[in-house]
């Protein structure tokens, strides 16, 4: 017994846990300029966010008299602290996911994982070394904001408990997201795949499953209790409850069954489980790599390959059916050669597809049961969901289209052929559109089905087609540009996603805060009207629902930010977006073509 405890203590000793991996990671990260850039960008965003929040909050107070201003200082403090805490909460999770997305896959790629396994370093040390070194940097980012939080607290109204709980929830959520990313990096070569897998897993865990379960439990007496259980594992829920408690302590009481530290403990337990699985998997992965098998090749795929090779060796002329002939321009042929849905032979893909479709049908069934299929909000939610999915897929696939060839080193060989650069560009564009097609088909399927069912006005098809056209062209052009410019797929994907986030999330947010200061909403309204998500909401909301579905076109009214517009004006807004973004997309695609023959190696 004593021996076991002593062994456990030895294993969990921080010095033993971190080991040489930890110091190596810290040394390497201190030499990477991007880490300093990351800190600078983080700090710049945080400062910008705080300044604008501060100005917005002060502007409201300035309208009142001095006494009221003083009285409202605590509210200003709370607003700023909330902005900082929420900014950190979301940003650190994203950073943790990105930072840990290459932790194990890089070791596999550089063939150093096998070498590590030949040393006395154990799997736990590798996993913890990787995690803790990145965690160290995250803590550094969180620490940056502490002086700011301390200063703002002087205004009063912000309890220490909120600052502490906010930081703890943020830290545990980031650790959990990072450990998931680390786990996925053992099975995926590309960082952007790991990032997407982690993001989708968290979305399923934090949003999709709770939404489905809540829909099923609609009206059930257990619903409230169930909400509290959900909050136990959902950091967004807990953070929301903590924020509500600070602003109005009584409002959050009914669903606050669990204090935040229970949530943190639960998340840490979940993190430990994920890390435990990582430790289990990592040695197996190392052995497979050492045996010459790439870890990201599934066993099934390897078996299939082996079988095909053996078959081809034995009967070189009998398996001709598997060969497809090049019957169109070569790049287009190659881009169109793969299956429409990635890995149709793979069991996991089919299971995933079935689960997704079943879940979707369940939501339709629940909506039908609740009689909300004729509500405009229902279709707006679906359109928004499908559009978001399609945007993410489009952003990733377009950015990966050329860099993936650079990474497999086939790009130089392709450029050494006399194929025209325009043909390569066309092939890549068509390839991206074709791979994104299944997701766009989900949107098209939903809209067309409910147009036929009489729940959506047919004009929505036209409007959404315009919206899809410009978003697809712009994102594709932007993705191709980064793909041609950068060498690594991950860098291109991150850059493409960053552009979309800045254009459609950060700038509107900052403009929103600035408009509160300047009291001028015109720029904000014009800018937000060109946001794809806003356009999706407006055109669906204006055309869906019991009344709108059957209304004549002249009586349709679309609620744009700040004004209501007719169908004609809405079409005008959409066509303006089409012109601007399609031109921008084409320009970026042209710039991508111009960069094809630079940065080849």
């Amino acid at each position: 017994m004593v021996g076991a405890i002593s062994s456990l203590c030895k294993t969990l000793n921080p010095a033993q846990l971190t080991g040489p991996i930890f110091s190596k990671e810290l040394r390497v990260s201190s030499r990477r300029r991007r880490n300093y850039a990351l800190r600078f960008i983080y700090l710049a965003f945080l400062t910008g966010f705080v300044v604008v929040s501060w100005l917005a909050a002060m502007q409201i107070s300035a309208q009142a008299g001095t006494a009221l201003q003083v009285a409202r200082m605590s509210l200003v403090g709370m607003t700023v602290i909330t902005a900082v805490i929420w900014f950190q909460f979301i940003a650190t999770q994203l950073i943790a996911i990105i930072m840990l997305s290459t932790s194990i896959s890089d070791e596999i790629h550089h063939q150093t994982l096998g070498i590590l396994m030949t040393t006395p370093i154990n799997s736990l040390q590798i996993v913890m070394g990787k995690l803790l070194s990145k965690l160290f940097q995250l803590i550094l980012l969180l620490t940056i904001s502490l002086p700011l939080l301390a200063i703002v607290r002087v205004f009063g109204g912000v309890p220490w408990s909120y600052v502490i709980s906010g930081l703890c929830i943020t830290l545990t959520a980031a650790v959990f997201a990072g450990s998931l990313s680390l786990y996925f990096s053992t099975s995926s070569r590309r960082a952007y795949v790991v990032i997407l897998k982690t993001a989708f897993s968290l979305a399923i865990l934090y949003a999709f499953i709770p939404a489905i379960l809540l829909a099923i439990l609609q009206g059930h007496p257990l619903q409230i209790r169930f909400l509290s259980y959900l909050a136990l594992l959902n950091p967004f829920g807990v953070m929301q409850v903590e924020t509500m408690s600070m602003f109005s302590p009584l409002a959050a009481q009914p669903i606050s069954f669990f204090p935040w530290h229970w949530h943190c403990l639960a998340v840490l337990v979940a993190t430990a489980l994920v890390l435990g699985r990582c430790v289990q998997v990592i040695r197996r992965v190392a052995l497979r790599v050492a045996a010459g098998q790439l870890s990201w090749d599934s066993k099934r795929r390897q078996r299939r390959r082996q079988k095909n090779s053996t078959k081809a060796d034995r009967h070189p002329d009998k398996s001709k059916g598997v060969i497809t002939r090049v019957d169109r321009p070569p790049v287009v042929w190659k881009e169109f050669r793969g299956p429409l849905i990635e890995g149709p032979g793979s069991r996991n893909s089919i299971i995933g597809l079935i689960i997704t479709l079943t879940a979707l049908l369940i939501t339709y069934a629940v909506c039908a049961h609740e009689n909300c299929l004729d509500k405009d909000g229902t279709h707006t939610s679906y359109v928004l969901l499908f559009l978001l999915l399609a945007l993410v897929v489009n952003l990733v696939l377009s950015a990966a289209s050329i860099t993936s060839e650079k990474e497999t080193r086939s790009w130089a060989i392709l450029l050494a052929t006399p194929i025209d650069d325009w043909h390569i560009l066309l092939g890549k564009v068509l390839g991206v559109f074709r791979r994104c097609l299944p997701i766009w088909l989900l949107l098209a399927g939903h809209v067309l089905f409910f147009v036929l069912a009489g729940y959506i006005n047919p004009v929505a098809v036209f409007h959404l087609t315009l919206l899809v056209a410009w978003t697809a062209v712009f994102i594709c052009g932007c993705g191709l540009y980064f793909s041609a410019r950068l060498r690594r797929t991950t860098a291109a994907v991150v850059a493409n996603i960053a552009v979309a986030l800045v254009l459609w999330a950060v700038v509107p947010l900052l403009l929103g805060l600035v408009s509160q200061v300047s009291r001028d909403d015109d720029i904000l309204e014009a800018y937000v009207s060109a946001n794809p998500l806003v356009q999706a909401v407006v055109v669906t909301f204006g055309a869906a629902g019991e009344y709108n579905a059957h209304a004549p076109l002249s009586s349709l009214r679309y609620k744009w930010p700040g004004y209501t517009a007719s169908m004609g004006r809405t079409t005008g807004v959409l066509l303006t977006s089409v012109c601007i973004y399609v031109l921008a997309g084409l320009f970026l695609a042209w710039r991508a073509k111009r960069r094809f023959r630079r940065n080849i190696f």
């Binding site: 390959r305 095909n308 081809a312 070189p316 060969i323 090049v326 070569p330």
Partner: protein, 308 residues
């Protein structure tokens, strides 16, 4: 067929190539030799139109590689020092893809692909996944790919690197076959003994500069290397040394283990004289072996800066 004039390439402020002048005649095999980082790959990438030179010109079949890139690509088969593979393509599809990329008519593609598969001995692997092939097979597939459009010139960057002895011999035989077909080949390799056996001309580069260009015989003359013969006798080694030392053509005689190393004066040779002298002197000969100039030795001497 291939010519460069004052070819210069800088990566930032780092010179990778400085005023490189080379000329390769039609039908020649040109061995491009140099230590790592000497500028071999850079030269080859410029000739394959994948890099633009900072200064100077390069011509393939009379076409400027910077101004007539597309036409040059039609005439050149470039095999880089890595194997770029497309996931999930089969050997036949891979080759047909490049046949289409080189603008070969659809009707002729199948015949051409089968032809190059036959030539490179990959017929049995036509249905195998490209990324499942062994390294040797992939190198052969690389050669098959560069032959698909029947180019006039082949630029092969380290085609034998990382291959086992059997695969290296196979690649060498393939290159000999291509020479017989009249292709002009520019090849770089670290395994100099292989180039020695197949190259008509060699070019040695160091720090981006061409240290030497010419035939092996010209290297001998340039380095002033004397002809050497190894003699092994059955008995009377001391007598053999005395007899050989007395010969006017011989510059030096050394005894090394169980053989005698005979060095002739510059430009002198004399295997026959040695045999005659020893037999007449009553010495039984086991063997007389002329010592050839090794490309490795020439490479070492040239890249050490001995010759200026």
């Amino acid at each position: 067929m291939i010519q460069t004039k004052g070819l210069t390439k800088y990566y930032g402020s780092l010179p990778a190539l400085v005023d490189l002048d080379i000329s390769i005649e039609k039908g020649d095999i040109f061995g491009f030799i140099g230590p790592n980082g000497a500028g071999k790959t850079t030269t080859m990438r410029i000739l394959a139109t994948l890099l633009e030179p900072t200064r100077g010109t390069a011509f393939v079949d009379g076409l400027d590689v910077t101004k007539q890139g597309k036409e040059v690509r039609r005439r050149v088969g470039y095999m880089p020092d890595f194997m770029g593979v497309y996931d999930d393509l089969k050997v036949f599809e891979y080759l047909e893809f490049f046949a289409a990329a080189f603008g070969i008519e659809r009707k002729r593609r199948s015949t051409i692909v089968e032809g190059v598969l036959e030539l490179t001995d990959l017929k049995s692997k036509r249905n195998a996944d490209v990324d499942s092939l062994s390294r040797g097979m992939q190198q052969r597939l690389g050669v098959a790919r560069v032959l698909i459009h029947d180019p006039k010139a082949l630029i092969l960057d380290e085609p034998a690197s990382g291959l086992d002895p059997r695969a290296r011999i196979e690649i060498r035989e393939l290159l000999r076959e291509l020479k017989r077909m009249g292709k002009t080949i520019m090849i770089s390799s670290h395994i100099l003994s292989e180039l020695e056996e197949i190259c008509d001309h060699v070019g040695i580069v160091e720090h981006g500069r061409l240290v030497f260009s010419g035939t092996l015989e010209e290297i001998v003359a340039r380095l002033g290397i004397q002809s050497k013969v190894r003699v092994k006798v059955m008995n009377n080694q001391r007598q053999a040394v005395e007899l050989l030392s007395a010969l006017p053509q011989v510059r030096q005689v050394d005894t090394q283990d169980d053989y005698i190393a005979v060095t002739f004066h510059d430009g002198q040779t004399g295997d026959g004289i040695i045999a005659r002298t020893l037999v007449n002197g009553g010495v039984d000969i086991i063997c007389i072996q002329p010592e050839r100039l090794k490309l490795d030795d020439a490479f070492l001497q040239l890249t050490k800066g001995i010759v200026h």
